[in-house]
């Protein structure tokens, strides 16, 4: 089959790779209809841990048609149109029973590496190296879906492919933010990042009854989408003092819930610190992540409020304002999304028109233009919010 492969120094290109096969009884094989780029792919392409191997196939946000099922699959049949949660989880361990699917004990084939990196094994993810799952990505004609009864969900007819694909990752990630922040009616919520996940976090906050939701970014096109399609207020951080503006819009209190949906930055504009040297010693060759938006969120958040970290951080962060966390009595929460818990509900909301995702796929490209698609996505060129591939 054709797949978009990482080729090391040669970048990305479509190659012929072996078709996926059923490897466990609970597997399904899905023919991919749509597969989206995601910010979590960028650290992989930038060479940060975990390291890709030549030939690895990227992509974890996808939907398609079931074409084969293992003998242990009960909920799906050949021909079903399904969206697949980006996180791989068994559904049977203690963490899955608590709804913490991304923390699954049995969702990765490389738990030893995760134990070294994080102290505990975590669930797997498609399109990541074995140390982070061991499952090929979805930028391909076909993909194997382990634990298919747990991670694949039939898509209601009214939700078309271009909308449904985001139920795989961006929509549940946004919902996760509102859940972790325990957003309640009357809350003021600030969201850093007007990408797909940030917009979905803003939408989830509004659906949970937030009084005001303010989205912060520097790209006018993204901010315009957040205004038009989500109904959020927006701030361009290049032109306003964000903490001052947020205080103003929250009666001087600061937002009740601050959501970081930006991820790490790794520019070299900050001087090296002791913490950075420590991180470099632990992970040779790797600079620590820059939690720039997290810092601002902590500073802006009201006393006793909650800061939710959604961005993909891959290691250490530097200069974290722990003093503000302690002095203001903040709660800081973070997670990868537990989509298996919410995707059916979210698909129903999408079918009813309560959650809007049709505007997220700004660029549709064939798999053969995968490198261009990632280039547009990474640089935000041409107003790119998400590139979606049709294999």
């Amino acid at each position: 089959m054709r797949a978009l492969c990482w080729l090391g120094a040669d970048g990305l290109a479509v190659r012929q790779v072996p078709d996926p096969e059923l490897r466990n009884s609970a597997d399904a094989i899905v023919r991919v209809r749509r597969s989206a780029t995601c910010g979590a792919d960028l650290p992989l392409l930038a060479g940060r841990a975990p390291a890709l191997s030549v030939g690895d196939v990227l992509g974890h946000e996808f939907l398609g048609d079931v074409v084969e099922v293992g003998p242990g699959v009960r909920r799906h049949r050949v021909g079903d149109r399904v969206v697949v949660c980006a996180a791989v989880a068994c559904g049977n361990c203690w963490y899955c029973r608590q709804g913490l699917y991304a923390c699954c004990d049995n969702g990765s084939t490389g738990p030893a590496a995760a134990e070294v990196a994080w102290g505990q094994p975590t669930g797997g993810c498609y399109g990541h190296p074995r140390s982070a799952g061991g499952f090929a990505g979805s930028h391909a004609e076909y993909v194997r879906v382990p634990y298919a009864d747990v991670g694949a969900f039939a898509v209601p007819e009214p939700v078309d492919d271009d909308r449904a694909v985001f139920a795989s990752d961006a929509v549940p990630a946004g919902w996760l933010a509102a859940e972790l922040g325990e957003v309640s009616p009357g809350d003021v919520v600030a969201v850093w990042g007007a990408g797909a996940v940030g917009q979905m976090a803003a939408q989830a906050a509004l659906l949970r009854g937030a009084d005001r939701v303010v989205v912060i970014d520097r790209y006018p096109q993204r901010l315009g989408l957040a205004q038009r399609h989500v109904g959020a207020e927006t701030l361009d951080y290049l032109s306003v003092d964000v903490p001052a503006e947020l205080r103003e819009r929250s009666g001087g209190r600061g937002p009740d819930v601050c959501v970081e949906a930006v991820g790490m930055a790794w520019d070299d504009t900050e001087p090296r610190s002791l913490a950075e040297r420590f991180a470099a010693a632990a992970l040779p060759g790797a600079a620590p992540d820059r939690p720039i938006a997290v810092r601002e969120a902590v500073h802006a958040c009201r006393k006793g409020g909650t800061v939710v970290v959604l961005g993909t951080f891959t290691g250490f962060v530097d200069t974290f304002p722990l003093g503000a966390v302690m002095q203001k009595g903040l709660t800081v929460r973070a997670a990868r999304q537990h989509g298996q818990r919410w995707i059916p509900m979210l698909l129903d909301r999408m079918a009813r028109g309560e959650i809007h995702t049709g505007h997220l796929a700004t660029h549709h490209l064939p798999l053969e233009q995968g490198a261009l698609g990632y280039d547009l996505f990474r640089t935000r060129a041409d107003g790119c919010l998400r590139t979606v591939f049709t294999p």
């Binding site: 054709r2 797949a3 492969c5 080729l7 120094a9 040669d10 970048g11 990305l12 290109a13 479509v14 190659r15 012929q16 790779v17 072996p18 996926p20 096969e21 490897r23 466990n24 009884s25 609970a26 392409l45 191997s53 030549v54 030939g55 690895d56 242990g72 068994c90 049977n92 361990c93 203690w94 029973r97 004990d105 049995n106 969702g107 990765s108 084939t109 490389g110 738990p111 030893a112 074995r130 061991g134 499952f135 090929a136 194997r144 382990p146 634990y147 053969e368 490198a371 261009l372 990632y374 280039d375 990474r378 640089t379």
Partner: protein, 163 residues
Amino acid sequence: MGRGRRGGRALARTAGVVAGAVAGVTVARVLRGPFRGGRPRPAGPRDGWQVVTIDRPPERVLPGGRWPEPLRRLDGAVEVAQGPAPGGRGTELAARPVRGVPVTGMAAHLVGGGDPAPLVREALRQAKQLAETGELLRADRSPLEGPRPSGPVGPGDGPVVPG
């Protein structure tokens, strides 16, 4: 989780080498486990114990006192202990290499004179996954296992650096 509570819980320990048992039919007997005495001792490198928590009751983890299959392969090289996990979390299953006893059979082949700790860890993980999901999760074939991805599939599909 209060470690203090662990000290009072009885752990069943089976040591194939001590009991002289045949692989697969080792019967559990109640002994002191990895958390022993009035003050629990942490499992880990200091005393060699490694522990996993399995979200199943003890009778499902060691039915009839039989070791889970991944640990049976190490019979003669490890001792095993189990007990209920607190808070209804299932079973704590512990294992550590036996010391001072010559290892024979399959276990000797697997350990091969090297550090058995990683093997013990892997066997515990596998026992947990088998008990919770019924099978061992397999990775997709790595691109390094077989032929590398073949060349471009059409004009203009050559390598492109994404920037």
